[in-house]
């Protein structure tokens, strides 16, 4: 009896594809339905943000970096403002710090809602996408009334924030938060106990803690693998040490744990916003910082914050008395996650590529800059 001859074939997924989050291309080598090798090809969204920043003053860099990871634009502003403030020794007033925390956590919730919508869309449950975006509209309204923008805010500036929050902000935020927890429970009802959802996500894309740390994976992905590491707790920046919040972790490091961790994180962020609103003091909203004549001292540093996707960092180097930075290196979290992704997909099926990429919450502007 002759042996049936089989051979592997190469399938190209993307860059135009409904469920690669952004433009990303995967070259999949498959043996039937089983994946043998995954090679991501990136660079479709490369906008040379780092080179652009070298030709901008420190204040002009902030709107450029809005576009670095546009789903969490506040965090991009924050990490650069933090780096510049540490470089020049600028102290941010209390009220500005509290407003920053409120905005950052609301942005984290908005980003997780995008993740929730697109993940369930990729798995075929077409309805939670619209529910998640309905909640996100409330957050967008809050941001729009403060800084006039819905996606790229340019709000957290060096030294503080751009404008004070209007008086309608607090009541509207409180109204949003009062119903938010029950809405998160609604989403959990649709997806968490659903046997189809569980079969698609459990034991898929299992990431061991050693693999995660070796590849520089951070954020909810690392926490779902069992490593309790959150930069807001372990390397505190801004005023996060004044708030009480839990850090959810998972056990197995599969897609289902990553889902559970992010759902719980949405609740924790809502808790932080409630506490910040209560503790909000009066005062200045910005330190004395002249964006036009600011000259940074010589120095270099790498500053990092906990973005909704993981660790976002900026390496800043400046020469003495220069208006423009010498080097701005942007470290995005999805870069490392995408690097680790092929190692999670060995032996899985092609449908799992979509599930794993969605659960790792990879978006391409983070990767390509």
């Amino acid at each position: 009896m002759a042996e049936l001859k089989t051979e592997e074939f190469v399938v190209n997924m993307g860059p135009h594809h409904p469920s690669t989050h952004g433009v990303c291309r995967f070259v999949l080598t498959m043996d039937g339905e089983v994946i043998v090798k995954v090679e991501p090809v990136i660079g479709y969204l490369h906008r040379a943000l780092e080179k652009i920043c070298e030709n901008r003053t420190y204040a002009q860099c902030i709107p450029v970096l809005d576009r670095f990871e546009y789903c969490t634009s506040m965090s991009c502003n924050q990490v650069f403002a933090l780096a510049t403030e540490k470089l020049a020794g600028i102290e941010v007033p209390e009220r500005a710090e509290y407003i920053r925390v409120i905005m950052l956590e609301l942005n984290r919730i908005a980003s997780h809602l995008i993740w929730l919508g697109t993940t369930s869309l990729d798995l075929g449950a077409l309805t939670p996408f619209l529910y998640a975006f309905r909640e996100r509209e409330d957050i967008m309204d809050l941001f729009e009334m403060t800084c006039g923008q819905r996606l790229t805010y340019n709000y957290i500036r060096v030294g503080g924030v751009a404008k004070d929050i209007p008086k309608e902000f607090i009541p509207k935020a409180k109204q949003f938060l009062s119903t938010f927890d029950s809405k998160v429970d609604d989403y959990e009802k649709v997806l968490t106990e659903n046997p189809i959802f569980m079969t698609r996500n459990q034991n898929i894309g299992v990431m061991s803690p050693e693999l995660a740390i070796a590849y520089g994976v951070s954020g909810p992905n690392l926490r779902a693998s069992g490593v309790k590491f959150d930069l807001r707790r372990d390397d505190p920046y801004s005023i996060y040490d004044r708030f009480k919040f839990n850090i959810p972790t998972g056990q197995n490091g599969d897609c289902y744990d990553r889902y559970r961790v992010r759902m719980q994180e949405m609740r924790e962020s809502a808790k932080i916003v409630r506490q910040a609103i209560e503790q909000l003091p009066e005062g200045e909203i910005s330190a004395k910082f002249n964006p036009i004549v600011f000259k940074a001292p010589a120095g270099e540093l790498y500053s990092r914050i906990e973005n909704s996707r993981g660790e976002m960092g900026v390496y800043l180097q400046s020469r003495d008395k220069e208006k423009k930075p010498l080097r701005v290196k942007l470290r995005g979290s999805s870069y490392n996650h995408l690097q680790a992704m092929p190692h999670l997909l060995k032996g899985h099926k092609i449908a799992d590529v979509v599930a794993v990429m969605a659960s790792l919450d990879i978006i391409m502007p983070d990767v390509d800059r």
Binding site: L123, G124, A125, T127, I196, R200, A351
Partner: protein, 347 residues
Amino acid sequence: MEITGIFEYLYELLIGTGLPQVWVDIIAYAFAAVVVFGFLCIVALFLVWLERKASAHFQQRLGPMRTGWHGWRQTVHDAIKLLRKEDITPYAVDRNVFYWAPIICFVAAFMAYLVIPFGDGLIVSDLNIGILFILGITTFTIISLLMAGWGSNNKYALLGGMRSAAQVVSYEVPMVVSILAVIVFVGSLSMVDIVQSQAKIYQWYVFRMPFGPIAFITYIIAATAETNRTPFDIPEAEQELVAGFNVEYSGMKFAMFFLAEFVNMFTVSAIGATLFLGGWQGPWLPSWMWFMGKTLFLVCILMWFRWTYPRLRVDHLMEFSWKFLIPVAFVNLILAGFMKYSGWFNW
């Protein structure tokens, strides 16, 4: 005049013209088939509109609102657009196979309606092998899926076609076996006999415990998989292989696949209503209204599934069918046979 009365009137008219009997029969039945075909086209358009509105309301939005009252004309406009679209045939396709695949799909979808009773006496032809005829015809769809996948000369289409063929074949078995459980009780394959054995509401097969509900649920699950609807819509999963087997089709050919899917959905709901929910039986209202109501009820349940559940992966799908549904369906069949033989529950 009743609907059946129109048909008899025309039949008398034709006989009166003095044509030979065989010609009268051919013309009469052709007329009935055309009427059914026209009715089904309207039903397909209605179902597309219903799907859009149902999905919109599940997702807290409104759906089409501008083309007529609540957008009822939307599908008409879409149909006109599809008719006028450029029909692109890629250069390297296998011409005959590519061309005939949507036609076979479409024809198979419509031929099942020759034996479906739309009401009391409203059936084109009461074959005494009614349900067997339907099961045979709906199997033609598999061939058209494979033809579409192969003829497109495209890796993705081929993968999609093979998967959907595997899926449909796997779910044929539980569908047939669950139908068999009902047939065992009826004792006849004719659709009219099946409905007439459910004269009272407690005689509906969905209520005949314990095999009725199990057969009904198995049938609904298998029917969802037969028509390639979520949660079993891997062949058309946009998020994975970009439309699967019909990726190379455009214009009218695509419209044929699309309409055939909706007509199939109506077919399986109609069979479900006939076999399990009592067909056209019901008090006060005309029989065709009962039939349409019950069928649309099942159609709405199928639509509800689509907008709630995520998608099953292809190996889970096969596992579910072969390792769970088929054993359950067979045990159910044995149970039904036992109940019939022993005379229990034989009201």
